[in-house]
């Protein structure tokens, strides 16, 4: 059994996990283009080719050998990427909400949303998500209002719900968490709300959803998620509508509906859901 060749690029979460495990990993799933690996108690995912999609990912020079059980996979000198996030918002919350509303209207006219993304058009998601509509709206409202108890309750009800490797409800919650981080950048007074959410989400995710999804939710609670979601947050914060549309389009391309689910979570908080 051969050992994998070098790591080309590594996300900050994957780098931390590999460092802590001294590069020792065990493979537990091959999913699509990715290999999911355990590094200590953390999950990282390796991809051959492409660019880093997430801080928990790493790009390797050659595909892993077939049925590779695990072994040594050190990041070496590979560049470590931490996705950028606006530290503060010069335009303030109203500016951010206006940009998000403009983007929501543009998407509703030009795209065909999937999964929870249909909420952005005021439509009901398909089975088995129809029941999630009220809970999603409640979460968005609670995050907008900075109500930790209501937000925690609504988020926990969504975690683990819906189709997909990362259930649609989880992806929606990821989107709302990034929105909460953006709002905290606009108004540091909401940092306490964010801290309460972070603790609640990490605890609930470990019990209520798959290991892979729980790891992604915990990252989102820390303000770390898919590169396209960060690009969208940066575009909204800077008021660059064109860049926002491009980033939203890239985000919508993740998974079958995961990207749309995250998009709905983010915009549901920042722009509000139509009809709510």
């Amino acid at each position: 059994m051969g050992e994998p060749s070098g790591v080309v690029a590594v996300g900050c979460k994957a780098w931390g996990a590999l460092r802590a495990s001294n590069g020792q990993v065990s493979a537990f799933a091959e999913v699509g283009d990715a290999w999911y690996l355990e590094a200590g108690s953390e999950i990282v995912w390796a991809m051959h080719g492409g660019t880093l999609p997430h801080p928990r990912a790493l790009v390797i020079a050659e595909p892993l050998p077939a049925n590779w059980p695990g072994g040594y996979l050190a990041p070496g000198d590979a560049p470590v990427a931490r996705p950028a996030f606006p530290a503060r918002l010069a335009g303030g919350r109203r500016f951010l909400e206006a940009r998000a509303q403009a983007l929501t209207s543009a998407l509703a006219q030009s795209e065909a949303p999937r999964g929870m993304g249909r909420l952005l058009r005021g439509e009901e998601p398909d089975f088995p998500l129809a029941e999630a509509r009220g809970g999603a709206a409640a979460l968005s409202r609670a995050v907008r209002a900075g109500e930790p108890d209501a937000a925690r309750k609504a988020a926990i009800a969504l975690i683990g719900l819906g189709p997909g490797l990362t259930p649609a409800g989880d992806d929606y919650v990821c989107g709302t968490l990034l929105a909460a981080h953006l709002l905290a950048a606009a108004d540091p007074a909401t940092n306490a709300f964010l801290a309460a959410m972070r603790a609640a989400i990490a605890g609930a995710a470990a019990k209520r959803t798959s290991r892979i999804s729980a790891a992604l939710l915990a990252d989102a609670a820390e303000g770390l998620s898919f590169e396209a979601l960060h690009a969208l947050c940066n575009a909204l914060a800077s008021g660059d509508d064109a860049a926002g549309r491009v980033a939203a389009h890239r985000l919508a391309g993740i998974g079958n509906s995961s990207g749309w689910d995250m998009l709905a979570g983010l915009l549901g908080v920042l722009a509000g859901l139509p009809g709510d």
Binding site: A112, P128, E131, G160, N256
Partner: protein, 517 residues
């Protein structure tokens, strides 16, 4: 309705694979719905609330895959279990293959792999499509632009650049093409032969190609142009470029052009291009009157006539194809109740909705449509029929946020049942489109709904006549013969093509009128 929850412990698949697996299982005969999800607590609760058996869900954990399947009673748990294993193993081998190929993520990356490629197929949301198409043209590639919602100004800009660079832009909203025997988009497995088709209409190209195949002829190239190519604004740039290419194509000896009637200024340009073609041509401008034209330039008024004329001009004698049987119309009409007096065409292809209007208008009927030939007959609400109606269910009004009805039959099923409940509906006409890109078993997916529609009418003392034409060949993955058998089994009257189906429907109505005292 029986439901099963099948567990596969510790099995991870990405979301796209899960969706494809759901579609594969949902396409099996007897399966009403298939959903694949992780066995989390929330999903377990949701499935229990939806009536899934508790004993099958007790053991599931968040890292398990659950296939939640709803069936109609004709299929058992073991069959579904086996089908799930087959689908999973098929997915595993595809994943392996895909990994070896490792799909490129940009046009530039794809080009670096295949420096000899000369065509880019672009399918991204409309607002981004023009930029990608422009990149392809600048890289010297012809473009097959599947995307819709591309602004007209962008289409004109792209096509002008293509014209300057002697390239072809097929589209936007180009549903089909066959280039040097390679199918693009929705296409059928038709015989190779000397006839090329250039068309603004995707299903029109498919129908003519399949009818030519049935008549014993074959196809050299099929070039989609996009629905607006013959508008004043675009000036028929792609149609004219395609005709120039086909003039030089040694594999092509006859050309068929199909579109809606062009703008007058563009009609003159197309006429000139056809005269410069130097090869016999058949022209079908749907909605305009046909005629004999000249020996080498035949003008026809429906899809069937276009296929027959093309095969004739190619020097072939059209093979004998079973025609529609007028006795069937008499038999059906005799069973219609008083008050059943309208035709309802529920089409997934826009061209079929147009052609039905042409054929029914020829029979003296006034037809309403959401794609009306005459403004006075536009439906106020596409979701409700009015008198005789031919509705294009692939129109934006029906597909925004939902898959196209050629892929997902749910919208047409709803509408079929709605028509069955209407006491004035006498005949429903359906198109069943096969080929790459289409539903894996469209007739099988519709058959239970057709039986239900007929039962609804019968319970009210009526006879609902359902006429269908299958656009496809025996070589298509769905197999035309098998599809026709599925339809026959639920008492559908089959016509040999779309034109014949519309004609037969009109005949049923004439016979109904004759049968009245």
């Amino acid at each position: 309705m029986p439901v099963f929850a099948l567990l596969r412990p510790g099995l991870y698949k990405d979301s796209l694979t899960l969706m494809r697996l759901s579609e594969t299982l949902a396409a099996l005969p007897g399966v009403r719905r298939a959903t694949l999800l992780m066995g989390t607590g929330a999903n377990r609760q949701m499935l229990l609330a939806a009536g899934y058996p508790e004993q099958e869900l007790t053991a599931c954990r968040p890292d398990d895959l659950v296939a939640a399947i709803e069936v109609d009673g004709s299929v058992g748990r073991e069959t579904i279990d086996r089908a799930l294993d087959d689908a999973l193993s098929d997915t595993a081998s595809r994943t392996q293959g895909a990994r070896q190929a490792h799909a490129p993520r940009s046009l530039a990356a794809a080009r670096s792999r295949r420096a000899d490629a000369n065509l880019a197929m672009i399918s991204v949301p409309g607002p981004y499509a023009a930029a990608e198409a422009m990149k392809a043209l600048r890289a010297g590639l012809n473009v097959f632009l599947f995307s819709d919602n591309v602004p007209l100004a962008d289409e004109r800009r792209l096509k002008r650049l293509a014209e300057r660079k002697s390239l072809l832009v097929m589209g936007p909203d180009c549903g089909t093409a066959i280039i040097n025997q390679v199918p693009l988009g929705f296409a059928n497995a038709v015989r190779r032969g000397p006839i090329a088709i250039v068309g603004a209409s995707g299903t029109g190209i498919q129908e003519i190609a399949c009818q030519i195949h049935r008549l014993g002829g074959g196809i050299s190239q099929a070039i989609g142009t996009g629905g607006r190519d013959l508008s004043e604004a675009v000036g028929g740039i792609t149609t004219r470029a395609a005709l120039r290419l086909l003039a030089e194509d040694p594999a092509t000896s006859v050309v068929v052009v199909i579109a809606k009637p062009p703008a007058p200024s563009v009609a003159a340009l197309i006429d000139a291009a056809l005269r410069e073609l130097g090869k016999p041509a058949v022209v079908l401008f749907l909605g305009a009157e046909g005629g004999f034209g000249e020996r080498s330039l035949r003008r026809v008024s429906d899809l069937e006539a276009a296929a027959r004329a093309a095969v004739g001009l190619a020097g072939g004698v059209p093979a004998a194809v079973e025609a529609e049987d007028p006795r069937v119309a008499r038999r059906e009409a005799a069973r219609h109740a008083r008050g059943q007096r309208y035709l309802r065409g529920l089409f997934t292809g826009g061209t079929y909705a147009l052609e039905a209007q042409v054929v029914w208008r020829r029979a003296g009927l006034a037809v309403h449509s959401n794609a009306a030939l005459d403004d006075g007959f536009a439906l106020d609400d596409a979701r409700r029929s009015r008198a005789h109606t031919a509705v294009d269910l692939g129109d934006d009004a029906f597909t925004r946020g939902r898959p196209h009805p050629m892929i997902d039959p749910a919208g047409r099923i709803e509408r079929l049942l709605q028509e069955a409940r209407d006491p004035e509906t006498a005949v429903v006409v359906l198109d069943i489109v096969l080929g790459t890109g289409a539903h894996a078993n469209p007739a099988g997916a519709l058959a239970p709904a057709i039986a239900e529609a007929k039962a609804i009418a019968a319970a009210a003392g009526r006879r609902l006549t359902v006429i269908a034409a299958v656009c496809g060949t025996e070589n298509d993955p769905q197999d035309r013969t098998r599809q026709e058998a599925e339809l026959r089994a639920v008492d559908v009257v089959l016509a040999p093509g779309s034109t014949a189906a519309a004609r037969l429907a009109a005949l049923c109505l004439e016979r109904t009128a004759e049968a009245r005292p």
